[in-house]
Structures are given as C-alpha cells and as structure tokens.
Symmetry: C2
Subunit: 199 residues, 2 copies
C-alpha cells in the first residue's frame, strides 16, 4: 500500500509511536503517526508505557505540548522512568507528544552563547557533547542558543542527565534567547551536555 505522504515530501519520515495506558505495554493501546495534543481525547488518562517504532518524538508532561519535555527515540519505554531524566521531580505523566523534524544527523549545527540574546563568547556545535566543559566550553551554563540545522537535546548535567530541553531549527526560528525559552520548566541557564537527535 502506498504511503499517504510520499517519502519524497517527507525525507525524514515516516513516524510511528504506540502508546499504552498501563505500564509494560498493557491496557489500552493506540498508534500514532502524527502529533497528539491531548491523550485524554483518545480515552486514555495518561500514557504509562510506549514504543517508538519509527522516527524521533518529543513527549510532554502536560497536554498541548507543555511542561517537562522528553526526547523519545526508537525503542521500548516500559515505565515513566524510561523517559524521565530528572530524578528530583518525579514525572509519571505523559499527556501529549509530537514528531521531531531533525535534519540529516551529520549536518546538524548549532551555536551556543555565553550570555542571553546571543551575546558573549560563542561556540559552534556539530557533534555530540557528553561534557561541554571537557570539550572546550568554559562553564556549566549556556546563556542562549541558535539552531542552524537539525534538532538537538540539551541537558542540565553531564552525561545526558537531568532536565531535557529539545531545540529545533523549525521552532522559534531556531532561536532560544534566554533560559525561559529553553522549555516551560527551565529555571536556570545550567546546561552541561548536548547532543543531536537522530532520526
């Protein structure tokens, strides 16, 4: 059967995610190939486990793509702890999700700045950085970011831990001028690891 959208017009697609309303892939089950703004609209209270079958996705704590963000790449997520990266703030809800439109992984590029509004020292990223400080950045904070290409995920702590902030060239025009634009739950400039999101 032909795809509804020819692959030509969707070079990074297609996307597919299967969500369940119970842990360990039990209970009510739904498949999605595009964004879901509120899982309650599909008679689920919340998502308690999921499988990403195709593409990269971002999940949100609240409906309408609000609250904590979680990057979701191909694989199995049997419980909330599999997608939440922050231990301090226990998130057992996942209410909305959408595909991530990442560029070809090898072409991902972004600029990080010392201070807000793209000021101060700057550094161009084009790789994965489990420790920004080990790889050349001078402190544990990033003041602002500009995504030229691709989709990225930034983390509070080294080694891809703590709060996750998904940054895309197609959102906000790729511009993240202040930590308040990193995500609705960001409360500091602290960013210590960054990586590209692969499709």
């Amino acid at each position: 059967m032909a795809l509804t959208n020819p692959v030509d017009s969707m070079p990074m697609g297609p996307w597919k995610i299967t969500v369940y309303d119970q842990e360990y892939f039990q209970g009510r089950r739904m498949e999605f190939t595009a964004c879901c703004q509120n899982i309650n609209d599909f008679c689920m209270e919340t998502v308690r486990s999921l499988k990403v079958e195709c593409g990269a996705w971002v999940g949100y704590e609240h409906s309408s793509f609000c609250g904590q963000q979680f990057v979701l790449e191909k694989g199995d997520y049997p419980r909330w702890e599999a997608w939440s990266g922050s231990n301090a703030y226990r998130i057992e809800r996942l209410m909305s999700f959408r595909p991530v439109y990442s560029a070809c992984h090898k072409d991902s590029r972004m600029m990080v700045y010392e201070r807000e509004l793209f000021m101060g020292r700057q550094w161009e990223l084009c790789d994965d950085y489990p420790s920004l400080q080990a790889m050349g950045w001078f402190c544990n904070e990033v003041g602002s970011m500009q995504v030229q290409s691709g989709a990225w995920v930034c983390y509070q702590y080294p080694g891809y831990r703590g709060h996750q902030y998904i940054m895309e060239c197609d959102c906000h025009g790729g511009e993240y001028k202040h930590y308040r634009e990193f995500g609705s739950h960001a409360q500091t400039f602290q960013i210590q690891s960054i990586r590209r999101i692969q499709h």
Copy 2:
C-alpha cells in the same frame, strides 16, 4: 611544579575530582587524583556533591566499587540526581570512585552479541548510539559484549537513560559474557543505548 607522573606515561591523564559531603558543593571537601575505595576512610559519611575537574571517572553506590555505577565526566554534580540515571531505584549514596582509562575516543571499538557467551548475531560499534534499534540492532537486548578498545557506557533505555553499565577494555579483559557481568545491579539483558566515554 612537575606532575608526579609525567604526561608521557599517562597519555589520558591526569585525573582530578573534588567531592563534598554536603549538597551544592558545601561541607567537607576532598580532592582526589586516583581511586578512592571507601569515602569513610576520609571521614566522610558519603559524597553528596562533586566536581569532575579532569578525566572521566566512575562512581559507585557502595564501597569497594560495588553496587550501581555512574559515569562521571567533567562538570558539576550538585546533587545525587545529577549522577544517578535510574529513577526507579533512588540512589543517594556514592561511596567509592575511580578513574576510567578510556582510549582515544575516535578509536573506541566494541562488539555486541545477540546472546550470552558471544553467540548469535553480532555488530561492531565505533560511535555513539542513542538508540541501538534506530541504528540497526534488531531488539532491545544485548546478550554479551566484548570491548576491543576504549571505555563505553551502556544504558537500559534509549537516549542514555536508566541503569548505567561501564564497560572497559582493561577490565575483565574487555569481556562481558552475561548480564551478570554487566554490573552487580544488572538484572536483565536490556540495553537500548550505548556511547563511548570521552576523556
């Protein structure tokens, strides 16, 4: 002042970690440049925050390098949640730690096998894999592993989340034949992301 060990004989070194017995870099403070088998020997009850200043380290829940493992790369870890990756099993202890002797990052190589004892399908890794399944592996498990070069960290879930297992060519002869050898806390073959440890 000259280093005690000339850099020539320690191409990946030197290492340095500063640990504190209170959160947010408060309280009693100690610097280490080599392994610490039991922090109690230094009049600290446990480590509650730390800064990796040089090199990559692995921290352990218990003394004598036992219990859950945490890869520690350059940067600031203000609270236990910064190093623990698993939310299910809340770890607020870090009792021992040691340097990781990673090869030159670009030369890291390891082989993963479908089944224990290096049997079944196999795949050579030489990069970072936020989702093994997205990048070619056929399931959410790895039966055994052989590290040819460098140091690696394997994770239970995609996106570098969940339990961490540090794998080194210099430990066990680089051979990890069964999940019981992945780490003292491993209880399944589930491994969904793997990356190199950078110095």
